[in-house]
């Protein structure tokens, strides 16, 4: 099944066998998240819906769709009597293309008139986005525009103000400006997609005239994959770590046999250049926040030696985990997930050897294993076009993530030198900043909330807009926690939120990044919550634990923190109570809390 969903996409198979694939996906996957997704089209969207459903099911999301009537995207949003309101969308995809641009400049129009035309077109779309924000507050995935089917003025079309190519480029530029400003607006870059697919094929006039599809039928799986990547990313389902083989993956040749002088990397041969380019791509991924890990069948000394090659772009320090031995790779991959405290399903395994790929696929179904082939010049395309590491925003934490993990490795070394774990914790000089949600950190707070699976008591997901609303709600107490220690800043690592009902605070969110496990941060967070609840004259805190496939590690947390279990059953999970009216002792001993 996997090979239908990784690059290069088997578009023919996806379209021809979609019904059987859908059946298989629905029966194979259990823990699916239901999402209500509205597709508002400026052209036919039936196949977009079908393909998007397949890609989302593959990602663990079971969509329920609302589709606008043909070319009613504008009316559906603007006139509330449409069925959209009752549908209560969680995501809206506006599927428009350059065929929906109302009017292009006439050849005799003045600069001012063209500017006005451009503003009119922008206002129409920004009006839509504004209205959606007001009525639904949900993420909008908006297509930008593909280049035109023909160029009336040839090359001049690209720079004369009257050219359609120019007009479309200017619109795309303004869409990008808007997307930078609006928190809930995400662009589906069909301008890139159509160029990649080939504009000549993309503009399928027969399908437009016959069925009102705005693009080649075979481009639709690609388009759906792209939309699904954005949705995966919004819900924190993007991958986190790239696990790499070494020999014939990061350099040509076998370091153990060929030696440092024998491996191919650098500029000497086309093959060496291709490996260098791939290493550069991998390092760029790392700089963007993707974790790197080595998983190689080698003696560790040999494996590390490879990165001392003068032309090696990557160094051994770039990897948050480095495992080179002769154990089976799937066992080592489990170790890597454990070391980095991340879920197995957030790993992508890259190996040139088809046998290793097959074993890992068979043993660890949750790990993504792209069909890499064995041609180094294709590796980048295969990883890049699969959209595994799609991200909807870059937070400061993304850019620093690898540092956090490297610092963790240093902490682990330190730990070995202390008599007791408590001594070790004291030695860290931990300082936490715990405060209500602030706009400045809202991006990171939402990101952490939506991607934390393990230390997460309630596993509720919220959009950025919902979290912004929570932070202003007088009936709620919200907290984020940031932890620094003498090895560095861990960034924002914990989130709590609760809603006040009468004299009790009901916990809606309690989660923490696994990179600060066993540091006492959960105790510091709870102390702060209790303190704030007391100042609001509340008498107790009600905590909830909803079990998922991944959050078993916190099932006893409330008990450990002094809550008593409530006997009244809730639908799923357990409920707990902490009396704060009497003496409720502080739980935190190792962390200094500011402000």
């Amino acid at each position: 099944m996997t090979n239908y969903f990784t690059y290069p996409l088997n578009t023919t198979g996806l379209l021809r066998k979609k019904r059987a694939l859908r059946r298989d996906l629905l029966s194979n996957r259990k823990d699916l998240d239901d999402k209500r997704i509205a597709i508002l089209g400026g052209s036919t969207t039936a196949e977009v819906r079908d393909m998007l459903e397949l890609f989302l099911l593959h990602a663990g999301i079971r969509p329920v769709f609302y589709e606008s009537e043909y070319n009613r995207y504008f009316e559906d949003v603007m006139f509330p009597e449409s069925g959209l309101k009752d549908f209560r969308p969680e995501i809206i995809h506006i599927h428009t293309t350059n065929l929906n641009i109302r009017r292009f400049p006439a050849l005799n129009e003045s600069c001012e008139a063209i500017e006005e035309l451009l503003a009119d077109e922008m206002n129409r779309f920004s009006g839509l986005w504004e209205r959606i924000e007001q009525d639904y507050g949900c993420p909008v995935i908006q297509n930008n525009f593909e280049l035109p089917h023909y160029r009336l003025m040839g090359n001049l079309d690209a720079y004369d103000r009257h050219g359609r190519t120019t007009f479309i480029s200017m619109l795309n530029h303004r869409f990008a400006e808007e997307a930078r400003k609006r928190k809930n607006l995400y662009l589906n870059d069909i301008n890139y997609l159509s160029a990649w697919f080939g504009l000549e094929r993309w503009h399928d006039r027969l399908f437009w005239h016959s069925y009102k599809y705005a693009m080649n039928y075979e481009a639709i799986p690609l388009l759906a994959d792209s939309i699904a990547s954005i949705i995966r990313s919004i819900y924190g389902k993007a991958k986190k770590c790239l696990v790499l083989d070494l020999d014939n993956t990061l350099w040509g040749g076998v370091i153990g046999d060929d030696g440092l002088q024998g491996i191919r990397i650098g500029k000497e041969t086309p093959e060496a250049e291709a490996y260098t380019e791939f290493q550069r791509y991998v390092r760029e991924l790392k700089e963007r926040g993707v974790l790197l890990a080595v998983c190689s069948k080698n003696d560790e000394a040999n494996a590390r030696e490879g990165f001392t090659h003068p032309d090696s772009i990557l160094s051994a320090d770039d990897f948050a985990a480095f495992i080179a031995n002769w154990d089976p790779k799937h066992e080592n991959i489990l170790r890597i997930a454990e070391t980095l405290n991340i879920g197995i399903d957030s790993l992508v395994f890259v190996d040139d050897n088809p046998v290793e790929r097959e074993i890992v696929r068979a043993q660890l179904a949750e790990v993504t294993v792209p069909e890499l082939g064995s041609d180094i010049v294709k590796y980048i395309d295969i990883l890049d076009k699969t959209g595994l590491f799609e991200t909807v925003s870059l937070s400061a934490d993304d850019l620093q993530r690898n540092m956090f993990y490297v610092a963790n490795t240093e902490r682990a070394k330190q730990q070995e030198q202390f008599a007791s774990y408590d001594d070790f914790l004291r030695s860290l000089d931990m300082v936490a900043e715990i405060a209500p949600f602030s706009t400045l950190y809202l991006d990171r707070i939402a990101q952490l909330t939506n991607k934390t699976n393990q230390f997460n008591l309630t596993t509720r997901r919220y959009t950025l807009a919902e979290m912004a609303a929570m932070s202003c709600d007088q009936n709620r107490i919200t907290l984020y926690g940031r932890l620094r220690d003498r090895f560095g800043d861990n960034g924002i690592v914990s989130v709590m939120a609760g809603i006040i009902k009468e004299t009790e605070l009901h916990i809606e969110l309690w989660l923490m990044s696994c990179r600060v496990l066993k540091r006492g941060m959960e105790a510091a967070m709870l102390d702060s919550l209790v303190e704030r609840a007391k100042t609001r004259n509340l008498s107790g805190i009600v905590g909830y634990y909803y079990p998922t496939a991944k959050n078993g590690m916190v099932k006893d947390l409330y008990a450990e923190m002094g809550f008593r279990q409530l006997t009244d059953t809730i639908d799923i999970g357990t409920a707990w109570y902490l009396d704060i009216s009497e003496n409720c002792s502080k739980k935190n001993t190792f962390i200094t809390v500011t402000p």
């Binding site: 023919t12 021809r16 066998k17 005239h209 069925y211």
Partner: protein, 83 residues
């Protein structure tokens, strides 16, 4: 694959697209005979047939097809394969 007739290959495409293994096409079969064969799945069938036989239909090809027999004749005409 090579030994299958055009009609058998077409049947295979219809079974895949409509996810119904019971479909057996004859020259007389029309959209009325197969419940799942609606206007939307028709588009998917056209594209899958194009891929199966490595042909590209044009605007005038697609319009007047009344039954599987005419569809088959069109494929023979476009590909030169003998039915």
């Amino acid at each position: 694959m090579k030994n299958l007739s055009i009609q058998e290959r077409m049947s295979e495409v219809f079974r895949d697209v409509l996810d119904n293994d019971a479909i057996i096409l004859t020259r007389e079969t029309t959209a009325d005979d197969i419940e799942e064969w609606d206007s939307l799945s028709h588009i998917t069938i056209i594209v899958a047939i194009e891929k199966e036989f490595n042909v590209k239909f044009n605007l005038s090809d697609i319009k007047p097809l009344r039954n599987i027999g005419e569809f088959e004749d069109l494929i023979v005409l476009k590909t030169g394969i003998k039915g």
